[in-house]
């Protein structure tokens, strides 16, 4: 799942893919702004077919945490 997140993320940040890990923090490390972040979430929803609750977003500090949330949602 992290691979899909990274693939979609690369539409919004100009960074070497190999530098993105599950510990990467979208806001702090990649300086993703709010528009980029909401757009990324929308793209992930389309690609994966789940609904991500915006209210949950602030709980995710790292991509690994977002990854874990998405995997849990897919099992629901």
């Amino acid at each position: 799942m992290l691979k899909i997140i990274v693939k979609d993320l690369l539409d919004y940040v100009d960074i070497d893919e190999s530098l993105i890990t599950e510990d990467t923090r979208p806001s702090t490390d990649l300086h993703l702004n709010s528009y980029d972040y909401i757009s990324l979430v929308g793209k992930l929803e389309d690609d994966i077919g789940i609904k991500i609750d915006e209210n949950e977003l602030r709980k995710f500090v790292t991509l690994g945490e977002l990854d874990a949330y998405i995997q849990k949602k897919m099992l629901e």
């Binding site: 300086h31 909401i38 757009s39 929308g42 209210n55 977003l57 602030r58």
Partner: protein
């Protein structure tokens, strides 16, 4: 007071450059407006990440950056600011954040990209002013904006400003206050 830096695309292209110019704006703005040295003032954040000065709760500020631009608002009122470069937008994102009426306005407009980012920056400035950022559902706040940039907002107790320039940037600022009108000073800064 609002400080805005806009540049051509070749400048402020990386996240680090944008972050750097935002911090410079903040340092210079606090010094000019309140004689506050940022390196001697501890910045703390609320649960949603909104920054405050620990020892100067009478001074509110908000910073924003995007590809090619950065903006700072310093105010005696709680404030939020957002700057975006007008560009193609994601329809998925538009459906997530705009009300049905706002979406119709954008889709039926000859200037859809501009209109989308007007709505986006207004909504984002509000969520930053109240201090919750993305946790606040953007559809909960509704705007009607006419061609002359006159706007009506569904929320009470807030005042908005909207600024555009010929480099294709739109900046919105929100103040949480009971005033009917504020004299806003806007300074467009050159890149150092």
């Amino acid at each position: 007071m609002i400080y805005i830096v806009c540049s051509e695309a070749k400048h402020l292209a990386t996240a680090d450059e944008q972050q750097d110019i935002s911090q410079r704006l903040l340092r210079e703005g606090l010094l000019r407006e309140h004689d506050i040295r940022a390196d001697q003032s501890e910045i703390i954040r609320n649960d949603w990440g909104k920054p405050f000065l620990r020892d100067r709760r009478d001074v509110y500020f908000s910073i924003s950056h995007c590809l090619g631009g950065a903006a700072l608002s310093i105010s005696p009122f709680r404030t939020g600011i957002d700057i975006e470069k007008i560009r193609p937008f994601s329809p998925v994102t538009a459906r997530k954040v705009l009300t049905d009426e706002e979406l119709r306005t954008v889709m039926n407009s000859d200037t859809s990209e501009r209109d989308f980012f007007v709505f986006w920056t207004l909504k984002e400035s509000y969520t930053k002013a109240i201090g919750t950022g993305l946790s606040y559902p953007m559809k909960n706040i509704r705007f009607v904006v006419d061609r002359n940039r006159n706007m009506q907002c569904s929320m009470k107790g807030c005042l908005f400003g909207l600024f555009e320039n010929n480099l294709g940037f739109v900046t919105a600022v929100c103040y949480l206050c009971r005033e009917d009108h504020l004299e806003e000073k806007v300074e467009y800064c050159r890149l150092p």
